[in-house]
Every structure is written in C-alpha cells, then in structure tokens.
C-alpha cells in the first residue's frame, strides 16, 4: 500500500520564479489499485510522480510504501520497487545498446546472486524472447538490433517491459502514450492494463484525456495548483461522464476555462 502523508514541495523558494508545486498532498492507494490522475498543465502531477520516485528532496511530509518510510531513500534505490514511464519514448531505454542488452541490464541488476561480472544465460535469453513475443510487436526477432532503431511505440513497449520485468510494487505512468500515434497509443494502453493487472502493482497514470482517465483503472484523482481537488471512484466514477467530470473539475479547481483548455481536449 502506498501512503502519501502531507507532502509539500516549492521550487526556487524566495525567488521571483517561486513555484509551489505540491501543497500538502495526502492520499493512499491499495495494492493493485489502478489510479488515473488528471489536471491542467502545472497542476503538480509530474511533480507528484517525481516526489514518489525520489527525483528531488521534499520540503515536508512523508511517503510510506507498505509501511516502510521511503521519504529519504535515494532515487536509484527506490527504483528497485518503483517502475516509471515517461511521455518521451527515448527516456526509458538506452538507444546505443541492443534490445537484448537493454533487457539483460535490467535482468542482471535484479537477479539474485548475480555478481558484477555476471552475464545472461541461454535460458535467460529464451525467457526474454518469450516476454518480447508477448508484446506482439515482433521484437523477439530483433534482439541484436540497437534500440535506437525502433519506433516510438516499440521503444515505449520495451520500456514498459523493462519497468515490469521484475514486478514493481508501484508503477508510475507519466502520459506514456501521449507522444505516440493513435494506433500505437491504443496498443500500449492495452499492454499497460494487461501488465499492470498481472504484476499486481499499484498503478498511477497521468493523462490529459478525460475519457481515458474514466475508462482506465478504478479511481481518478484531479489535481490543481499542487493539491488534489477531487478523488472519485466506484459508482460516482462510473456514472459521472466526461462532461460531469469537467464540471466537477471547474467547480473544485476554481479556475477559469481558458487555463484549463488543455484538460478539455478529448483526443488521445
């Protein structure tokens, strides 16, 4: 279970560019719960993900994962149990390494009794090819090709596989389909839901598409100005619809239409 307790973060404090990105945010998420997060640009969605994965130190508050306080754990240690995907398909893979090498790196990193000089075995390679085949993109036949040659959708699918090769306890998806063409985006969303279900991880997904936010997962959070202004699930969420959610957002966020325009676009 993820438990966020009153976390705050202000960037560039005391300067003219001071930005209160997270303002006393609290919520908790159950195991294998899939939560979508929406909000206009600058609402603090990505900052929230950065705080959970440890990209920067917090000003105040605590983050607990399964009862363990991870607030001060460095980013690279947290990533052992937190998988994170970004909008940019380039960020989740190493382009100069082959598909097999990318997978080997992650596999060896998490393997028990692996030393620094360990290499992958033939059995490992078969297992990785099998996992690639499950993505349904033909990547299993291109193991020796550098990842830099893959398309955005293929790279994002590979990123997803890398992030979940060892089932993470928490999966953070930061608009990970936004930079893809519609067809690839649908494909990656299907894969995401499948993989998230199988891994049993708590899943948080940022999206700008309200329809997608309501269709995916079990619960939706709305953020505005560094706070969570609405948290809907169950029957309310099922019956609210895009217009209802937009209405709720406008009421709770208390902002004018123009600045929230980005929220209202309903394309992928």
């Amino acid at each position: 279970m993820l438990d966020i307790q009153r976390i705050s973060k202000t960037f560039l404090p005391g300067t003219i560019n001071e930005k209160k990105a997270l303002d006393c945010v609290s919520f908790s998420a159950q195991d294998s719960e899939f939560i979508t997060v929406i909000g206009s640009n600058g609402a603090g969605k990505s900052t929230l993900f950065g705080a959970i994965s440890g990209s920067f130190p917090l000003d105040a508050g605590k983050i607990l994962l399964d009862g363990e306080d991870i607030t001060r754990l460095p980013e690279y240690r947290r990533s052992r149990f937190i998988g994170r995907l970004f909008q940019d398909p380039m960020s989740g893979t190493a382009p100069g390494l082959t598909i097999e090498e990318n997978l080997s790196l992650v596999l060896l990193q998490g393997k028990k009794d692996a030393t620094v000089f360990s290499r992958i075995t033939v059995k490992d390679r078969d297992m990785l090819a099998e996992k690639l085949a499950e993505l349904g993109m033909g990547l299993e036949d291109r193991l020796k090709q550098p990842v830099g040659l893959l398309s955005g959708g293929q790279r994002q699918a590979l990123s997803l596989l890398l992030a979940t090769l060892y089932p993470p306890r928490l999966l953070l998806l930061d608009e990970h389909t936004a930079a893809l063409d519609p067809e690839s985006a649908l494909r990656i969303m299907d894969l995401t839901e499948k993989i998230a279900r199988n891994s049993g991880a708590t899943c948080l997904m940022i999206t700008h598409n309200i329809q997608q936010a309501l269709d995916t997962g079990d619960r939706t959070l709305i953020m505005s100005k560094g706070r969570i202004v609405a948290d809907i699930s169950g029957e309310t969420r099922r019956s609210i619809g895009v217009s209802g959610l937009t209405e709720l957002f406008r009421k709770n966020a208390g902002t004018d239409y123009a600045s929230d325009r980005i929220l209202l676009t309903d394309d992928i």
């Binding site: 990533s79 994170r84 790196l105 000089f117």
Partner: protein
C-alpha cells in the same frame, strides 16, 4: 624496410590499449579524460624504474593498480566533488607531473642500459627479430578480448548504459556515479599498462613522453572508426587496435619520407582529430538549417 614496418607494428600494438582506454572513457562514458598523458607516463615510470631495480615483470604488473589509483582520483573529483570532468582531468594530470618525477627519483628521465626488460627476457625464450612484435601483439589482443567480454557483463552493460541514457540507468536502480568511477578506473589502468609496456620497449622514460598521448589515441580511435565503422562493440574494439597500428604506419611514412617535417606531426594529428569530431557536428547543423528552410517553404506553400 622490414625494420620500419616491424617498428610501426610494434608501436601500434604497444599504444593500442590507450586507444581502447579512450574508447571506454570518451566514446562510451563521453568523458574526455585529460589525465591520460600523465597516467601513461606514470605507468612507464613505474615499469622502467622497477626494471632498473631488476624487477621488470613486477613493474608491468604494478602499473595496473597505479593506473586505477589515477582513475579513482580523477573520478572522485568529478563525481563526489562536483569538478567538471575536463578540469578534473587537467588537475589530476598536473598533479601527476610531480608524482611522476618522484617515481623517477626526482630525475626527468630514467634509462635501462644493461638491465633486463620483459622484452629481453622474452627474447631468451623466443629469439628472433620478431620476438618483440610477438609479445607486443599478444598483450593488446588479450586486453581487447577481456574488454569485449567485460562489455557484456552486468557491470560493463551498466557502464555503457550510463553513457547512453543516465535517466534509464538510475531508473534501473544503478548508481551512475559508481559506474563513472568504475569506467575511469578501468580506462586509466589500460593507459598505465600501455605506458609500462612502451617504457620497457623503448628502454627509457622521460617526464614529457606522455605529451599528446590523449590526442594521438583519439586520432587512432577515429581512424579505426573510419575503417571499420562503429556499428558494433566488436568492430569498435578491433577498430581502436587497428587505428593505432595505422597511425604508427602513417607516422613511419612521414618519418622516413619527410613528406611533412616530423616536428609538425602533432599539429597534423590535432588537426585531424579536430576535423574528425567537427565534421559530423557541422553536417548535423547543416541538415538542421536546410530542414528549417524546407519547413518554411512548406509553410509558405500551405499559406
């Protein structure tokens, strides 16, 4: 003529580990390690001094940990103390000048006159004009094979990914600073090892014998990439060794034909390296400019 070719081959293979070191630090980690010159002399100084004291083999072996020490200092300066990598290299290199003098017993050069080197010992086992050549080819070949193997291990893959996409590496719970440290440790030990072998081969070490080694090694790397390409790890590693041999052939050619005064060779080498690194950049920039032109044109047409 045979002697000229042999010497070129010997020097090419002898200096090849420096090109391999630069491949690791410059191409893979994207760090221009300017401590290379001093590190090379340190290896040579230790090796020649130990040979002069009657321990040639120990001299070569000791070069490895001494190189690691240099790599560790340079890496600590840039990962823990926040000194930019180029400056960290320059600082280490400057400090090494004093260290090297100290190793050489506060003299600016040390020579082997009658004392044994690994080469004279090897000649006793396998005599002949090509004895040195044999020893000198075995040594970088072993290093190249070890490097090739290392690049597919967990640590090797982590180092490669660190130069490629540090964000992804941190997300895979690997500490990028540790990877930079490990990479520089290995590259510096290769450089010092090459210095140690060349020192005993030439039976001398001079405090200034390292000047330009880093640029020459870069030139070798670039020559190798031009000949073999940089598509795969195997080609890149083989290319560094082959590039080093080609460079020494060009050097020999210039030396014996006086096509260009030998004194100008470092000027020429620098120009080649600068051009080789500049050309891809300029090409990209040009493509970007013509790209915007095309976009503007398209925009006008649409309007």
């Amino acid at each position: 003529m045979e002697r000229i070719i042999r010497t070129a081959l010997e020097l090419g293979f002898g200096y090849a580990p420096v090109a391999l070191a630069l491949f690791l630090s410059f191409r893979i980690l994207d760090i221009a390690d300017l401590a290379t010159d001093g590190c090379f002399v340190l290896g040579a100084a230790i090796s020649v001094r130990m040979a002069a004291a009657g321990n040639p083999l120990l001299g070569i072996l000791l070069a490895v940990p001494s190189g690691m020490l240099v790599g560790a200092v340079s890496a600590e300066l840039q990962t823990r103390l926040g000194i930019p990598s180029i400056l960290a290299g320059i600082i280490t290199n400057t400090a090494l000048y004093s260290v090297n003098l100290m190793v050489m017993g506060w003299r600016s050069n040390v020579n082997l006159i009658k004392e044994d080197s690994v080469f004279t010992l090897f000649r006793k086992m396998i005599p002949g004009a090509w004895s040195d050549f044999l020893l000198l080819t075995v040594f970088p070949t072993v290093i190249a094979l070890l490097l090739k193997w290392f690049m597919s291990t967990r640590l090797g893959l982590s180092i490669r990914a660190t130069g490629d996409n540090p964000v992804m590496v941190r997300a895979s719970s690997i500490d990028t600073s540790s990877m930079i440290r490990a990479g520089l440790l290995i590259s510096s030990s290769m450089t010092a090892l090459s210095g140690a072998v060349i020192g005993q081969y030439q039976k001398t070490v001079d405090i200034n014998s390292g000047t330009g080694v880093v640029v020459i090694a870069l030139a070798c790397l670039i020559i190798g990439e031009t000949v073999l390409g940089r598509k795969s790890m195997n080609k890149s590693i083989a290319g560094a060794v082959i590039g080093s041999v080609i460079y020494r052939f060009v050097y020999a050619l210039v030396f014996y034909t006086q096509l260009v005064p030998v004194q100008c060779l470092k000027l020429l080498t620098s120009a080649v390296v600068a051009a080789a690194i500049a050309v891809p950049h300029l090409r990209e920039e040009r493509a970007a400019v013509s790209g915007t032109d095309a976009a503007e044109k398209e925009g006008e047409e649409n309007a």
